[in-house]
Symmetry: C2
Subunit: 204 residues, 2 copies
C-alpha cells in the first residue's frame, strides 16, 4: 500500500526493488545467470532499462557482474562475513538515529507506525517476502533520513546480510523487536531506541 510517497518511482527503481525483493526472499537461486532479455519481456520495457537496474543491483552487491557475461545472483555471505556486516550495520544505524533525532517529526512517527502495522500483518501471515521487505524499509527509514549518502552504503551492507534470510526462526519475535524500536522512538527515548536497534541487528 504505497500511500505517502509523492515522487514517482523511476522504472529502474521499480525493477530494482522487485528483483531485490525476489533475490532476498531466495526466489532466484545462487549463481543462476540473470538474462536481460527475459526481464525486459517480463517487465514490458526495453533491455536498456533492465540493464540500468542490473547495474545498480550489482553495485549494491546483490548481483555479481562479469563483463560480457552478464550478472548472476551473488552467493550468501560466510558466517564471518555476516558477523562483520552486522557490526557495520549496527554502527551505521546508531549513527543515523543520532543524526536524524533532532529533526524527527510526528509525521515520521506515523510513517513508522504504518510500516509496523504492515510488518505485523506480514508476520501473522508468515509472508517471508513481505517481512523482509518491510523490515528493510523500516531500518532504511531512519538511515535515509539521516543521510542519503550513508543510505547507499548501508543498503549494500544490509542487502548482502539479508540475502537468503530464508529461515526466520521466530516471526513473532521479529514483530515484537520492531515494535519496541518504534515505541522507543515515539517516546523520544534515544538510548532505548539505540539499544533496541542493536538488539535487532544480529547475524544468524
Amino acid at each position: 500500500m504505497p500511500s505517502t510517497r509523492l515522487p514517482i518511482l523511476s522504472m529502474r527503481q521499480q525493477i530494482c526493488d522487485a528483483l531485490r525483493g525476489e533475490i532476498m526472499a531466495g526466489e532466484i537461486s545462487f549463481n543462476q545467470p540473470v538474462r536481460e532479455q527475459n526481464l525486459a519481456k517480463r517487465f514490458g520495457v526495453s533491455r536498456n532499462s533492465v540493464r540500468d537496474a542490473l547495474l545498480q543491483l550489482s553495485q549494491e552487491g546483490v548481483l555479481i557482474y562479469s563483463p560480457n557475461c552478464g550478472v548472476r545472483v551473488s552467493s550468501p555471505p560466510t558466517q564471518k562475513e555476516s558477523k562483520l556486516y552486522a557490526k557495520l550495520r549496527r554502527e551505521i544505524e546508531i549513527h543515523s538515529l543520532e543524526i536524524a533525532w533532532s529533526s524527527w517529526t510526528k509525521e515520521d512517527d506515523g510513517n513508522l507506525n504504518r510500516l509496523q502495522r504492515i510488518l505485523s500483518v506480514a508476520c501473522e501471515q508468515q509472508d517471508l517476502k513481505a517481512i523482509t521487505e518491510t523490515d528493510l524499509a523500516m531500518h532504511r527509514y531512519w538511515v535515509s533520513k539521516a543521510s542519503k549518502e550513508l543510505e547507499s552504503v548501508w543498503l549494500g551492507i544490509t542487502v548482502r546480510m539479508l540475502i537468503a534470510y530464508s529461515q526466520l526462526d521466530n516471526y513473532m519475535q521479529c514483530c515484537l523487536e520492531h515494535a519496541a524500536i518504534v515505541e522507543a522512538i515515539a517516546c523520544r527515548d534515544l538510548s532505548a531506541a539505540k539499544k533496541a536497534v542493536e538488539l535487532n541487528i544480529r547475524s544468524k
Copy 2:
C-alpha cells in the same frame, strides 16, 4: 599508469575511474551538475555509456542522483561522518587482510611493491591525484582479494571518505605508512600488518 591488469576494462569502468579520480581530487566542485552530453562528447562515446558510469558512481556515493534532473557531485562528509567511515573502513580492511592472508602469494607481494613505487614517485612529485588514486588502489588490492562482494561496500565507504582529501598535510608520511604496510605483509607478520593499516586509516 595502468600497467598490470590483463582483463580489458569496459568503457563504463574507464569512465568511472576517470571521473572518480577527478572528483576525489576535487577537480569538480560540489553541487555542480554533471551533464551527460558533455561527458559523452569528451570521452567520444554515446550518452548511454556515460549514463551507466554515472549510475555506478551514484551508487558508490560519489555522485548524487535526482530523477530527471541528472547528477551532481555529492558534498563532503561531516566530521562525524568521516569518523564513522574511518571506523567502518578499518573493520573491513582488517577482516579482508585476515581472509586474504591464507592465499597470499609472491605475485601479490610484487603487485603491492609496484604500487608502492608508484606512490613513492607521486609523493615526491606532490601529485595529489596520483597519490589518491594509488592509495585507493593499494587498499583495494587486499579487499578485492578477500571478497568481490565486500569490495563494492568498501569502495563506497572509502571513496566518500576520501572526497576532497585535498589538503594532505604530509606527503612523505603517507608514503612511509604504506611502506610499513607492504613490508609487514612481505614478512608475513599479520598482526603488524593489521596495526599498520589501522594507523593509516583515520579521519582528518
